[in-house]
């Protein structure tokens, strides 16, 4: 039972990962990635780590992928206007879309059921207590280093996107509203 579940989920994860690379349409690629994240979350649940599973959903599926799709939607407006979207034959597109949507719905369902059936004590490996001690005591230093690394990345990204010699007021998005 456990092995079957694992094989199915691992299969879904790999199929999703392949989908990310093979999809012509960027949005379907992003959706495949969402599928990968949800499947990974269920795998975490099977390892009885519900906290990690939920974080996986909130951070990756909920925040990062939303930003990805945000960008894709902004770009694909122009992409479709220029008429290049017609490169993929209609039939294949339809089946991949249907498959994707069905897989996502099934994964959500499995996730909800698995969530309900996972015994989730606050003690033991995979629990929040355990994770907290690991992060803030045992691996305190690497954890802080990682957060500083992220901070540096943010500052770097900001300085790349900022135009020279102008403050925040020169920002394009803001300018449109003035």
């Amino acid at each position: 039972m456990e092995l079957v579940g694992f094989l199915l989920l691992a299969g879904a994860t790999i199929a999703g990962a392949m989908g990310v690379v093979l999809q012509r349409n960027a949005l379907y690629g992003a959706l495949s990635l969402v599928g990968v994240f949800v499947a990974t979350a269920v795998l975490y649940l099977m390892l009885s780590a519900p906290f990690l599973a939920v974080l996986q959903l909130i951070v990756y599926a909920g925040a990062i992928m939303v930003l990805f799709i945000f960008v894709i939607m902004l770009i694909s407006v122009r992409y479709e206007e220029s008429g290049e979207a017609a490169g993929v034959p209609g039939g294949a597109k339809r089946y991949t879309a249907m498959g994707l949507a069905a897989v996502l719905v099934i994964l959500f369902t499995i996730l909800s059921f698995k969530m309900a059936l996972t015994p989730s004590g606050s003690e033991g490996p995979g629990s929040i207590t355990e994770l907290g001690f690991a992060l803030y005591q045992k691996y305190m230093f690497p954890f802080e280093v990682a957060s500083i690394l992220l901070l540096v990345a943010i500052v770097g990204a900001l300085s790349i996107t900022r135009r020279h010699g102008r403050g925040l007021e020169g920002n394009v998005a803001l300018e449109e509203h003035h």
Binding site: P50, G62, V66, M73, F108, M115, S120
Partner: protein
């Protein structure tokens, strides 16, 4: 997993669906009547006594309407989009407890479908998945108004979800648990709204934005975007969006009640069977408050929305965490 377990689960799930669906029907009806009163109109009062059968009539009407699929739409995603909006909205309700466990037919029955000890985070995760429903439908519609609505909703939800998450951190620090039942028990003496007045305000603002209600209804701003992300939807699929929106409304108000208003606990002695009633009353008060804001406040402009979310709410929520953390740490160490 005995037979009794299965019966309990099936009955609970059925009951939950019943509560969510009738709740949604009558909350939306109540909203129409209450808004009508606030705007000196009468509102729907023709079908049944005081218009009470209006939701049923609406459902029948919407179900018999034609589903129109725009020629340029991405068909499959267009049809599946509303499903993605509905599933998280309904599943989220399954971890909301209504009261203490009761003993029925010799079984101890907890008053929620399933006990997840990270219930708060689970709801947050589901609400962040719920946004896919909105912007997949928006994208699939291949309509510029829908697309703008979808973009707005994703930007808005990411920004305000952060605030909500940070407020929840402060509550979890006070209660010492992610379980909603434990959080309610931690408020046996004092409801957390007294310890966390700022947190409560931030949470209510964040949840108004999270469920796209006025003054944050930019994704479907009808004065500028026709109907925003659901411009192209008709019939039952259109209704599903309204359904999930009201289901989300019930979920966030329940969450606010459990985290800030002491859940089903009241300051005076009360028998255990009254608990669900107190809980429902508190939730209904919050829902009324949200209708009231809808009848009162105008809509934000998009840049105001972003600035408010990132430059006002987020720093306040962070300050709230720091202060709460300091106080908890000082009080715990004598």
């Amino acid at each position: 997993m005995t037979l009794g377990w299965w019966i309990e689960v099936v009955v609970k799930v059925g009951l939950m669906f019943f509560i969510v669906l009738t709740g949604v029907a009558y909350v939306s009806f109540a909203e129409r009547r209450i808004l009508a009163h606030m705007q000196s109109r009468i509102g729907p009062n023709r079908v049944g006594p005081q218009g009470l059968l209006q939701p049923a009539a609406d459902a029948l009407k919407l179900m018999t309407k034609e589903t129109i699929i725009p020629a340029a739409a991405d068909k499959i995603l267009f049809l599946f989009g509303p499903v993605f909006a509905l599933i998280p909205a309904i599943v989220a309700f399954s971890v909301i407890p209504f009261g203490e466990s009761i003993t029925l037919f010799g079984r101890e029955i907890a008053l929620h479908v399933t006990d997840v000890n990270i219930a708060v985070l689970f709801i947050l995760a589901l609400s962040s998945i719920g946004v896919y429903g909105i912007f997949l439908s928006a994208w699939a519609s291949n309509n510029k108004f829908a697309l703008i609505g979808g973009l707005r909703s994703s930007a808005q939800m990411i920004s305000y979800e952060l605030t909500m998450g940070l407020v929840i951190v402060a509550i979890v620090m006070l209660a010492g648990s992610f379980s909603l039942v434990d959080i309610v028990h931690a408020q046996a003496k004092v409801p957390f709204i007294l310890y966390q007045p700022l947190g409560f305000v931030l949470f209510i603002i964040g949840s108004l934005a999270e469920i796209n209600r006025t003054p944050f209804d930019l994704p479907e701003a009808e004065t500028e975007l026709v109907a925003g992300f659901h411009t192209e939807y008709t019939g039952m699929r259109f209704a599903i969006f309204a359904l999930s929106e009201y289901a989300n409304l019930m979920t966030v108000t329940s969450l606010a009640t459990l985290m800030f208003l002491g859940g089903w606990l009241v300051p005076w002695p009360s028998p255990a069977w009254m608990y669900p009633l107190w809980f429902a009353i508190k939730v209904l008060i919050l829902i009324f408050f949200m209708m009231w804001t809808r009848g009162t406040l105008p809509r934000f402009r998009f840049d105001q929305l972003m600035l408010f979310g990132w430059k006002v709410l987020l720093p306040l929520a962070l300050a709230n965490i720091v202060i709460t953390g300091l106080v908890v740490a000082l009080l715990e160490r004598p």
